[in-house]
């Protein structure tokens, strides 16, 4: 029952009702405008940044110079300096990161969400993982320096760097895996159980495929972050000047596959960019901007696999 006399009066007056609807519609319009504005601010910032990088890096990015820029090692001469060792290093490091972080992260996420008994220990672990996602990356660098470099004696290698970044993005992968699993409607599980599926079958055949879209988003966010990291890699001893590439992973003679590259010293794109930005010669600023564009493209390429998979998974889901 409505007791507010003013409201009662409105409810009995068609003109007032129409007026009220009009007013609420106006508010809706205002909100939509506000939404557009927010979107525009975010998008414009991105466009301006990318355009700025593109324009400043263009002298090295145009088709005449790009092949040389991509195939030259660093140099003290801005015109000679390229990013061969940097992009190869970035790619190999991120490969190790993905191979380590994705199975571990998804596995831990599934266990925590589906199997772990709900008790104080789980709460404790959950709080810690969520907090770990917000720990500054340099802390991971220090941890990795002590653990990977000195205790495990892996040295300043691609393996160390990949595992360091894997630790860094693990919390993100675990948290998003759990969130995506949780978002699957209960009916799906009940349906599977009702035809006699075991818990493992339910998870593997139904829950996991449906939540893959969300999980892949988490992986994309994590990988992008890892590709842009400098601080933890400098801590574990990434180099700045290195002109040779790691050992090739594929060999002509048996056993054809070699893992020597894992132990190789390396540099990555963000470190080169940082070095060039702080050089006195203005010409190095161009190199830095061009390297920034290459880093953006590399990030998109690495993520494109995940983006494609996500598209496939999402297309096949119909609730």
């Amino acid at each position: 029952m409505v007791h507010n006399p003013k409201l009662v009066a409105v409810l009995h007056n068609p003109v007032a009702i129409a007026e009220s609807i009009q007013q609420r519609k106006r508010w809706e319009q205002i909100f939509i405008l506000l939404g557009w504005f927010s979107l525009l601010v975010a998008l414009l910032t991105l466009v301006v940044l990318v355009a700025d990088l593109l324009i400043r890096g263009w002298p090295l990015l145009n088709p005449n110079f790009l092949p040389k820029f991509l195939s030259s090692p660093p140099s003290s001469d801005p015109e000679e300096a390229g990013i061969l060792t940097a992009w190869v290093g970035s790619l190999l490091v991120i490969l190790v990161t993905i191979v380590v972080a994705v199975p571990l992260g998804i596995g831990a996420g599934i266990y925590l969400e589906e199997y772990a008994p709900k008790n104080w220990l789980l709460d404790f672990i959950e709080i810690n993982i969520t907090n770990l996602a917000g720990v500054p990356s340099i802390i991971y660098g220090l941890l990795a320096l002590g653990f990977f470099v000195y205790i495990l004696n892996w040295g300043e290698s691609i393996l160390t760097a990949g595992c360091t970044l894997a630790l860094l993005i693990l919390p993100v992968v675990i948290v998003t895996t759990r969130e995506s699993l949780r978002a699957i409607p209960i009916g799906i599980r009940e349906g599977a159980y009702s035809v006699g599926a075991s818990r493992w079958q339910t998870i593997f055949d139904h829950v996991l495929p449906y939540s893959m879209g969300g999980i892949l988003t988490g992986i994309i966010v994590g990988v992008s972050r890892a590709l842009g990291e400098t601080a933890p890699l400098v801590t574990i001893g990434a180099l700045t000047f290195i002109t040779f590439l790691p050992d090739a992973p594929i060999k002509a003679e048996p056993p054809f596959i070699s893992f020597n590259w894992l132990w190789s010293p390396f540099t990555v794109l963000p470190i080169q960019m940082f070095n060039w930005v702080s050089r006195p010669q203005e010409a190095f600023q161009i190199n830095s901007a061009a390297a920034g564009v290459v880093l953006l493209v590399l990030t998109l390429l690495v993520n494109s696999i995940a983006i494609y998979l996500r598209y496939r998974f999402r297309k096949s889901i119909k609730f």
Binding site: F241, W263, P265
Partner: protein, 336 residues
């Protein structure tokens, strides 16, 4: 969804195999085909060593590999004294703490000055009054708890214009040296100035403000001569502008400082390290010029090379900063 499930299974298998095999492969495989010279340390010395490494590798046709990292003078010495690097770049002499650390690990080193850096005090091009400043005036501006915030307080006759200060952050070797040379104590500085580890930020700051004053390495001034004005420094003997000449004849004081490389004495026994250091010192002037620092005279490089050939270990500075050290003293002390 059975296809996707299979895909996941396959993906998982590949990932698991890769993960296991990559961790099982022993570190024994890690040797490289070509010998590697490992260098790390100061970002100030980096451009010089980078140029040397690049030209040396080209000359050798890639038979010898050189890697250079930037972890700062202090960070570089940490690795050097653990025996992880062959050569350490340093923008100041090795400190007592680091000498101790090296001794503990039985690491001996050969100390080699490679160039001079002239810390440059810069002002906005529109600043027509501060053609020169005395060390005392600089100290008045930069000392801890300094209350000076207007040019008129620096010297009577200077205009009434707010003074905006720009300088490197506290982690920088340039900061350590400047505070020691001007304020008399390393790291003792007023804190209310615009600080950045990126010297290009300082260049921009000084370019934008008529009342600005900043300091940084000579190379940044040389590259931005059209946007900035250098201040002549008066150390009691009249104003002196920073230049190759005034640095070398020892009149630009107290803001010129030597920069060094330290060679691990054990590594120096390896032929490739010997070759590299010999190349570095015999091509010193060209390499240093390329990196926009002030090269030592050729005779000095000869003397320093002779020191290296004799494997003279130890430091000539007793673990302290080398303030106001003239070239002759540097060579003499270096050859003790």
């Amino acid at each position: 969804m059975s296809i996707s499930a299979k895909n996941i299974a396959r993906l998982g298998m590949v990932a698991a195999i890769a993960a296991i095999s990559s961790t099982v492969v022993p570190a024994a495989f890690s040797q490289q085909s070509a010998p590697v010279i490992r260098i790390d340390g100061s970002s100030t010395v980096y451009p010089v060593t980078e140029a040397a490494a690049e030209q040396f590798q080209k000359q050798q046709g890639g038979k010898i590999r050189v890697t250079v990292g930037i972890s700062g003078t202090g960070g570089g010495f940490k690795k050097f004294c653990r025996g992880e690097t062959d050569i350490s770049n340093a923008s100041r002499p090795i400190l007592a703490k680091e000498i101790e650390e090296c001794k503990k690990n039985n690491i001996q080193y050969i100390e080699l000055p490679v160039a001079y850096d002239a810390m440059t005090v810069v002002i906005n091009p529109q600043n027509s009054w501060a053609k020169s400043l005395t060390v005392e005036e600089l100290k008045k501006m930069w000392e801890p708890d300094s209350k000076i915030n207007n040019w008129s307080q620096v010297r009577s006759g200077f205009p009434n214009l707010p003074l905006k200060l720009f300088g490197p952050g506290a982690d920088s070797g340039t900061f350590d040296y400047f505070t020691e040379a001007i304020n008399g104590k390393a790291k003792a500085s007023r804190k209310d100035y615009t600080a950045s580890e990126d010297d290009n930020v300082l260049v921009q700051g000084v370019t934008r403000d008529r009342g600005a004053l900043g300091y940084f390495g000579y190379a940044y001034y040389v590259e931005n001569k059209n946007k900035l004005k250098a201040v002549a420094i008066d150390n009691g003997k009249g104003p002196v502008m920073p230049s190759d000449k005034t640095v070398l004849n020892g009149t630009y004081q107290p803001l010129s400082r030597p920069i060094f490389i330290y060679v691990n004495a054990n590594s120096a026994k390896r032929p490739e390290v010997r070759q590299f250091v010999t190349y570095y010192l015999s091509n010193g002037p060209a390499i240093v010029k390329k990196a926009k620092y002030v090269p030592l005279p050729s005779s000095a490089y000869k003397a320093i090379l002779a020191k290296f050939d004799k494997n003279q270990v130890g430091t000539a500075f007793g673990g302290k900063e080398a303030i106001g050290l003239k070239l002759d003293d540097l060579i003499k002390r270096g050859l003790q």
